[in-house]
Symmetry: D2
Subunit: 355 residues, 4 copies
C-alpha cells in the first residue's frame, strides 16, 4: 500500500503551518495508457486520488480505448509562468509614457529579476495600458518547478526598480491578470503554465468494442455540448477535465488550487475520414511541477515515480502524460453519455448509500 | 496526529477503483474565525490541507483580523443542484414544440424523477431553445449531499419519458450547460450548488494593526484588480479563492474537482463610511457536502468534526464556514500585496529550496 | 428612390438634439426570402443599409439558397425587456434581508411601476445578492416598442418605493446587469429583448448549386470556427451576425446601438441525415421595435413597410424576418469561406480603390 | 442642413448592391469637446446620428464637464488589423509541425501577402495550436483604412502558399478568432483595430456644477456597476459605449457593424487625491477609418470634415476624438444615474408618445 504511514511533522515544514497531521485521499491507478510524446514515450499507469467512485474506472476505460488505437500523441507547446503587476497613475499621459518606456528597460529589469533566482529566466516584459492602470506581464521560464515563488521574488525585484523610477500612485505585485488559480479566456493567450495538446485517432471497431458506441454519435454529442456550453458562457468545451486534474494533482503533490486555471481548455470529437473517431484536447494553462512545492511530500514521490517523473527535467514529460490522461477521460466520459450508462456506472462503482 | 494510520482498502470501496493506497496531503489548521451565520454561529478552527507554504498562515491572519472586527456574517442564499440534458431535433418546429410542451409535463417528470431517490426533490424543469438543440435544466434540492449521483439517476428517469414521447434525433444526460466542474459566468445565474455570501466590516485600527495596511490602499488595490481582471476576461474578481477551497475540500473529503466551479465568484473591498474596511465575497456555485462522497473516508470525518459539520443537516453550516474562510483569505491576500510582503511571506514559510 | 428628400427638422424632435440634418446610408434590398414564422409567413425582400460592398449580395445569395430549400422556420421564444437597478447596503444582514423581502412586495411594486405606463406590464422582480450589493431585475413586457424608456420610468417608480422603505447606502437605476447595449454571456439567460430562433434544411443539391460547396465542408468549417471562437472567449459562435443586424437596424429606424447585445448568439451547421445542410441560428437578445424610437423617422416607415411591419402588433413579425435574414447571411458567409471566394467577392463588389 | 439631397445611385457603387435609395438618420452635433491627443489637439464638435432622444444632449453635457476641466487626454496605443485563418490536420504531429514551421516562413509569407496591397504591411504571423486545428493570425498595419478587404486579400495570398505546402485537411480564411465584428474578451489582447485610451480629471466643483453630483457618489456608482457587470459575465465595464459609437459611426460613414467589437472596453471612475473625479476609458478594438468604405459616401465627408478628419493620415486623429467622446458620454451617463434623473432626461428629450 502506498502511503501506509503518515507524513511525519518535520517533513511538512515549508508546506503547511500549524500542522495537525495529513489528510488522506483514496488512491487508485488507471492504465495502461500509451503516450507518444516528445518527453514521455511509453506505456503508463496513472495514479489518481479521488473519492468519486467510477472516476478511475472511467479514465481507465478511455485509456484502454486510446491504447488499443495505438496511443495518444502529446506535445508541450509553450512553457512559462508569469506575474502581472499593475501600476496606477494619475493621468493618461503618465500611463502611456510609462508603458512606452518599458521596452528600453527590459535589460535592466532582467538583471534585477534574475539576480534573485538561479532557475528562473525572464523571457519578456509586456505592458498593457488599461485606462489609468498599466498591467505589466513578467513572463519567466521556471524549469521544472511551478515557479510562482521564484516569479514573485524576481518580479518584486524588477518592480522595485520601476516604482523608484516612475513613482506610480499605487501598484501591486499581482493583479489577477496573470491568471494565477483563476479561470478565464485570457488563459488561451498563453503564459500561465504549459500549453499542451494531445490527440488520438480511434478506429471505428475500437470505439464500438471498447466504448460501445458509434463514432458518429460521439461527434454528434460533441456538437450538442458545444452549443450548450456556449449558451452558458463556459470558458472552454469539455466533459470533465477537472476530475482527472484534481485526481492527478492530489496524487502527485501538485498545487491543487491550480485546477482552477488548468481545467480551462477545449476538447474536440469528430468523425475521421476513415469513419473512426478523431479526438483532441488542448489545455492552455496546465501548471505542473516535478520539483518544489509538494512534489517531495508524503506519497507524491511514489506517485511521480510510477510515471518516471521524479525531479529535474521531468516536468514536460509529466505534462504530456497528464494531457494524454485527460484525452482518455474525455473520450470515456462522452461514450458513457452517448451510451446512456453514465448514471448506471456511478451506481455500479459509487457508494452504496441510500439514494 | 490526524491521519496517522492509512485508510484500509475495504474502506475505499465506492470511492475509488484499482486502489493502491492513499495519497497524503499535509494538514494544518487556521483560526480562530468567528462566524455569524444562520447555520454556523461561533468560533471555528478550519482544517486546510495544502502543500503551499504560507497558505495556512495567510488565511489565519485574515481570520484574526475578521475575528477582532467582530466576525464575518455569512448566508446561504440558494441551495440546489442540477443536470442539463440536451435534446436535438431535425427542425426548429419540433424544437420549439418540445420546449413548449415541457411545462405541462412537469408533474409527470417529477413523479418519474423522484421515484428514484429518497432525498432528492425536483424543484423545476427549465427548457431553453438553442437552435436545433434544447437544453433542459432539471434542478433538485439534494439535502446534505453534493447530489450529482442522485441528480443523474433522477434525471435519467425523467429523460426516458421525454425520449420515448418526443423521439429526439439525439440527446445526452449532461451537456455541460449544468456547469458541473466547469468555470463560467453562467454559474452566476444559479442552480449549481450553493450561492453563498459573507461580509465583514473591519475598523481602520484593526486593518492597521493586524494587517499593517490602510483601508484606502486596500480599496485602491481592489479597483486596480477589477480593471486587470476585466481586461483578461476573468469570470469573477478575486485574489485566491481556489487556494482556500482546494485546501478545505481535500481536508474535508469533498469532491475536489468542484474547485473548478466553486472558485468562481466576486470579492469586493471598499472603504466604509467610518473609514474602516468593508469586505464581501459572493460564490454562486459552492458545492459542498456533509454526507456521501468522500465525507466518511479517511481523515474527512475528523476534519468535518472539527467544524461540527458531520452528517445530516450540516451542509449549509459547512458552506457558511467555507465562505467566511474565503473572506478572511481574500482580506489577507490583498493586505500582503498592498504591504508588498507577498513574496517575502512565501520566502518565510515556503520550502527552503534553492530559488 | 427611397429617401430622396431630407428629413425635415421638426420631424426629428424627440429623436435628436442640436439637429444639423440627416446622415445618409446607402440602402439596398435582398431577397426573396421565404419565412415560415408564427407572425411572419411569406416571401420577403429585406432592406439593408450599409456601406460595405458585397454585404447585400452575400445575404441575398443565402436567401436564395434558403428559399429554394423551402424557406426558413422562425420563432420568437421569449419577449421582454428589463432594467436591473443595484442597491448597496453596509452589511450582509441588510443585503440578505432586503433580497428576501422583495417577493412579498411584488404586488406593490407592480402597482407603482404600472401606474407610469399604459403598455408596459411588470412580469416579475428578481433579486440577486452579490456581496454588499443586490441586483434587482425588473422584467417587463413592452408591446411593440423597444421599451427602455417605459422600463426606466416604471422601474424608477418601483425603486422610489424600495429606497424609501429600505434606505440603501446607495443605489442606481441601471447597473449594467440588464445587458442594455452590452455584449455578454448573461444575455443567454434571457430578459433583454426577444429570444429568437431560425432554422432551415438545405438539400445537398441546393447547397452545391446555389452556394457551390459541399454540406460536409460547411459542417467542417463550423467545427473549426467553434474551436477558434472558444479559444478567444467569443460570447457566441457566428460568422457575421453584426453585418445583417446593423444594416437592417439602420434601414428600419431601430436603435442601432442595440447591435452590441443583439449580435450575441449561436449559429450551427451540420450535415443532415439525408446528406443536406442543417443550419440554425439563435439570438437571445434581439431588440427590435415597430413603434416608438426611430421607427417613424425618415425612411424607416418605408423600409418597415416593405416587410409589412409598420406599427402595432408587428414587432414579433419583424423579429422573425430579422432572424431568418441572419440565418441566410450565415449560410452565405460560411459558403464563401469554404469556397475560398470571400476575398474575391469583396473585390468584385467592393469599392475600386487602390488596394 | 447636412444631407438635404439624397445620395445619387451611381455614388453608391461599391458600397451596396440592389440600391433603392438611402436610409436617413437624424444628425445632431455635440460639443465643445477639448481633446489633448497626439493626433487630435483642439476643440471639437462631434456629429452624432441617432434616433434616441437625449443621447446627443447627454454626450454634450459630458463634453462640457470634460472641457471645463481642461479637456480629455487621448492616445492611440496600438493600430493594426488582422485575419485569423484556421487550418485542420488529421493528427497532432502534423498540427504541431505546421505551427513550428511558420516562424521560418514569415519572410515568404510577407512577400506573398504584401504583393497584393500597396498600403498593407504584414506585421507578424502568430500560430496557435488548438487541438487538431491551428489558428494563424496575420496582423497588418492598414494605414487609414479599416482594412479588412486588404487584410483578406493579402492573407488569402499567404494562405495559398501554406495550403500548397502543408496540405491541411481543411482550412478557412476567417475563423472568428480575429474578432471581426464580434465581442469577446480576446479583443483585449490586441490586434483588431486601434487600442485607444482617454482620461480626464474633473475638479469637484465642475462635477457638482455641471453634473449635479458628488465625485464620491460617482465612484460608488462605478463600484456597484463593476460587481453587477461581473455577475453577468459582461466583457467589459461601461455605461453606454455603444450609443456614442453607433451615432458617430453612422454619421461618419464607418462600417457600423464594427460596433460589435468596438464597444468592448473598460471605464473607470475614482475619486482623485484632490477630491475630484478621475475618469478613464479604454477600448481595445476600435475600428475606424478616414479612407475607404463609406467614408466618401453621402454625408460622411461633411461629418468627418467637421472634425478635420477627411482622408489620408487622419484615422488616428479620428480615433482620439472618438475615445474622448466616449469618455464624456460615460461621465454624463453615470451622473444621470447617480442624480436619479436618467428616466427624467429621456422623458424631457424623448418622443412625446403615449407611455
Amino acid at each position: 500500500m502506498v502511503g501506509a504511514g503518515a507524513i511525519a511533522g518535520p517533513d511538512m515544514r515549508g508546506n503547511v503551518e500549524n500542522p495537525i497531521g495529513a489528510a488522506q485521499v483514496p488512491l487508485g491507478v488507471a492504465g495502461p495508457l500509451v503516450v507518444h510524446g516528445e518527453h514521455a514515450d511509453g506505456t503508463f499507469y496513472v495514479p489518481l486520488a479521488t473519492t468519486e467512485g467510477a472516476v478511475v474506472r472511467s479514465y481507465e476505460r478511455g485509456m484502454v480505448a486510446v491504447t488499443r488505437a495505438g496511443g495518444a500523441t502529446a506535445r508541450v507547446l509553450r512553457d512559462e509562468n508569469r506575474a502581472t503587476p499593475a501600476f496606477s497613475f494619475a493621468g493618461v499621459e503618465e500611463v502611456v509614457a510609462f508603458a512606452r518606456a518599458l521596452p528600453a528597460l527590459e535589460g535592466e529589469l532582467r538583471l534585477a529579476a534574475e539576480a534573485t533566482t538561479r532557475h528562473g529566466k525572464l523571457l519578456r516584459v509586456e505592458p498593457r495600458v488599461a485606462g489609468h492602470d498599466v498591467l505589466v506581464t513578467f513572463a519567466f521560464s521556471t524549469g521544472d518547478a511551478g515557479g510562482m515563488n521564484l516569479v514573485a521574488r524576481a518580479t518584486t525585484a524588477a518592480c522595485a526598480l520601476l516604482v523608484e523610477r516612475f513613482a506610480p500612485t499605487g501598484w501591486s505585485l499581482l493583479s489577477g491578470a496573470e491568471g494565477e488559480k483563476q479561470a478565464g479566456p485570457g488563459l488561451y493567450f498563453g503564459g500561465k503554465g504549459k500549453s499542451v495538446v494531445a490527440g488520438a485517432r480511434l478506429p471505428a471497431a475500437v470505439v464500438r468494442q471498447v466504448l460501445g458506441v458509434e463514432p458518429a454519435a460521439m461527434a454528434s454529442f460533441w456538437r450538442r455540448c458545444v452549443v450548450a456550453q456556449t449558451e452558458v458562457g463556459a470558458v472552454g468545451i469539455n466533459g470533465h477535465f477537472a476530475n482527472g486534474l484534481a485526481a492527478i494533482f492530489i496524487a502527485c503533490g501538485q498545487d491543487v488550487a491550480n485546477v482552477a486555471n488548468s481545467a480551462v481548455g477545449v476538447m474536440k470529437l469528430e468523425v475521421a475520414e476513415d469513419g473512426g473517431l478523431q479526438a483532441s484536447v488542448h489545455l492552455p494553462s496546465l501548471v505542473v511541477a516535478t520539483v518544489g512545492g509538494g512534489t517531495a511530500v508524503g506519497t507524491a514521490p511514489e506517485c511521480l515515480g510510477l510515471l518516471g517523473c521524479v525531479g529535474d527535467g521531468k516536468a514536460r514529460r509529466f505534462a504530456e502524460i497528464v494531457i494524454a490522461t485527460l484525452l482518455a477521460g474525455e473520450i470515456s466520459f462522452a461514450a458513457a453519455l452517448v451510451a446512456g450508462d453514465h448514471a448506471a456506472a456511478h451506481e455500479r462503482y459509487g457508494r452504496k448509500t441510500t439514494p
